[in-house]
């Protein structure tokens, strides 16, 4: 309905629609992050007295614990993202290509169900399954594989299981939607032209699914990196996850300056990986995000 309505009413409407968006983006996103940045470049030099400094960031690099936890968090997140992709891809392929109609819809729905339930509940399940007095150690003993119950919690592998489990949905959905849009006849044509399973996968399927793969990996990485619940419950008291360091500084020690610096380092790492993911796959941010 172009051209209907006077210029003033259109400007008024624009203003009315723009206001909530700006309040949200500026008031709740932009300003708080600017403030956080300022906070991280501050040092307390006396009661109520502060000065500009790089002390918070210096502490991070000087104290091996912080640096180690940071690297550890990043490495485990990368591994978890890779594992999630490996597990989710065949499932997405099965739903999108190997099954039809009701079976496909049912399988898809079944994959979504666990994620209707909170992460807390799912983590509780893993704790009951894996802890020393839990279900799996008891099963192992009764099968005669181990003599006494083994503690399966508080290991890096356990954290990985929990993180992969929590992330699956965010990988299956974008993969499924990008695979579903792949025309079967393209695969048939590639076969017909002499491609083997591997070459078809490499030259036809993966290039087509690239936006979905990128979207899934970015989101999963971001979520694992920022995960707190799974890492701290399955990893135990000293799981040494970076978000826990942030929590400790901010809430337990009330050292907001240090916490802010840690927060910014995590944000920088997460943004860097998002950027790398986009660069490596040649995707645009907006396209990728609209797929998740």
């Amino acid at each position: 309905m172009a051209e209907v309505g006077s210029k003033t009413t259109r400007l008024l409407l624009l203003g009315l629609l723009l206001a909530p968006a700006l309040v949200w983006l500026v008031g709740v996103i932009l300003l708080p992050h600017l403030d956080l940045a300022l906070l991280s470049f501050r040092e307390r030099i006396g009661p109520g007295e502060f000065s500009w400094s790089l002390a918070q960031y210096r502490t991070f690099f000087a104290e091996p614990l912080y640096w180690d936890v940071f690297v550890r968090t990043a490495v485990i997140s990368v591994i978890a993202t890779g594992l999630t992709l490996l597990i989710a891809f065949p499932i997405a392929w099965t739903i999108a290509k190997l099954t039809r109609g009701r079976v496909s819809a049912l399988l898809f729905a079944v994959c979504l169900i666990p994620f209707w339930v909170s992460e807390t509940v799912r983590t509780l399940g893993w704790m009951i399954l894996l802890r020393e007095t839990g279900v799996l150690p008891a099963v192992l003993v009764s099968l005669g594989i181990t003599d006494t119950p083994v503690e399966m919690l508080y290991r890096d592998a356990t954290i990985l299981v929990g993180l992969v489990y929590t992330s699956l949905l965010f990988m299956v959905v974008p993969l499924y939607s990008s695979l579903e849009s792949l025309d079967d006849s393209l695969i048939e044509a590639a076969y017909d032209l002499g491609g083997s399973g591997w070459t078809v996968l490499r030259t036809v399927v993966i290039p087509h699914a690239a936006p979905g793969i990128t979207a899934g990996c970015i989101v999963v990485f971001m979520l694992t990196l920022g995960n707190y619940l799974t890492a701290s419950l399955l990893g135990g008291k000293n799981s040494l996850w970076f978000t826990e360091q942030i929590y400790t500084q901010f809430i337990t020690r009330f050292n907001w300056e240090q916490g802010a610096a840690f927060g910014f380092l995590l944000l920088a790492l997460s943004s860097l990986m998002v950027w790398l993911g986009l660069r490596l796959s040649g995707q645009k941010f907006a396209d990728v995000m609209s797929r998740t």
Partner: protein, 286 residues
């Protein structure tokens, strides 16, 4: 690879085994949680001691506080519902205005704004939490220093939790509603206008009914994500804990099967919502 092409037998079997294993992996924790809600033992651990409903209804003789008697837990469920209701309302309203802003308006800086709207989705929740916490405190301090106001709602507590969750859930609502508005055939509006409808009537009788599935869908997603949110919430809670934070605290301390009971309750509630939504979808289609 696809059914129309020859697949070796081993590959077909392997696929079947993999899918089966995947489903077991997916449901094992949930089934475990649910099962131990009915185990007649003080801790959610094997062996199986027999069936009981104590962890729902309570049993004073054995000193068991059931879910329905656990005021702290019930209170936290109510807190979560309250927070989720506010978050849903705010997110869907702002998501709708954002959708109209991005799909119906043309202005300078629109591309930048639409990019900015996606940013909250790639900021880890913990960082959204601390940035809002720090900024709100600074504003509260400022208000206190300059005007002498006690801006209590800017201190950790439920209003801040709502703000924190809204910060990224608006983005999700905006994406969902925009996607549907983008597909809207604008000649429908022209047709209504042509048939004598005023502009508000066009909005009320044509555009909003068309958006309804997206509004309901995004409300359901936002409600669920708010109810489940942990990372952002943890940084912003005050005295009243929503359910996830309450459960987390108890899980660290080694809790009784009452947590399993809560979990069963959540599963039933989520399934009910999911079924309701699906029924609604079906009805619209047939």
């Amino acid at each position: 690879m696809i059914p129309s092409l020859p697949r070796p037998l081993w590959l077909r079997i392997a696929t079947g085994v993999f899918v089966a294993a995947f489903l077991v992996f997916l449901f094992l924790p949930l089934v475990t949680v649910a099962a131990f809600a009915f185990n007649d033992a003080p801790y959610p651990a094997p062996p199986w001691q027999g069936f009981t409903l104590d962890w729902f209804t309570g049993n004073d003789a054995e000193g068991r506080t059931g879910l329905f008697k656990d005021e702290e837990l019930m209170g936290s469920i109510l807190t979560s519902l309250l927070v989720a209701a506010w978050v849903t309302l705010l997110s869907v309203v702002v998501g709708t205005t954002n959708a109209f802003l991005m799909e119906r308006m043309r202005f300078r800086g629109q591309g930048l704004l639409s990019l900015l709207m996606l940013v909250p989705l790639v900021i880890p929740g913990v960082i959204l939490g601390i940035s809002i916490l720090a900024f709100a405190s600074r504003v509260a301090d400022l208000l206190g220093d300059v005007f002498g106001w006690e801006a209590e709602f800017l201190r950790p507590g439920l209003p801040l939790v709502v703000l924190g969750q809204v910060s990224f859930l608006i983005a999700i609502a905006t994406l969902t509603i925009s996607a549907r508005l983008k597909r809207f055939d604008r000649t429908l509006e022209e047709a209504a206008y042509n048939l004598g409808a005023s502009r508000p009537a066009v909005l009320a009788t044509i555009t909003l009914p068309y958006l309804r599935p997206a509004l309901i869908g995004s409300a359901a997603i936002v409600f669920l994500m708010s109810f489940q949110d942990f990372n952002t919430t943890l940084m912003l809670v005050g005295a009243d804990s929503p359910l996830t934070v309450m459960m987390y605290g108890r899980m660290r301390d080694g809790a009784t099967p009452v947590l399993n009971a809560v979990s069963v309750f959540l599963m039933v509630a989520s399934t009910a919502i999911a079924l309701l939504l699906m029924r609604g979808d079906d009805r619209r289609r047939t």
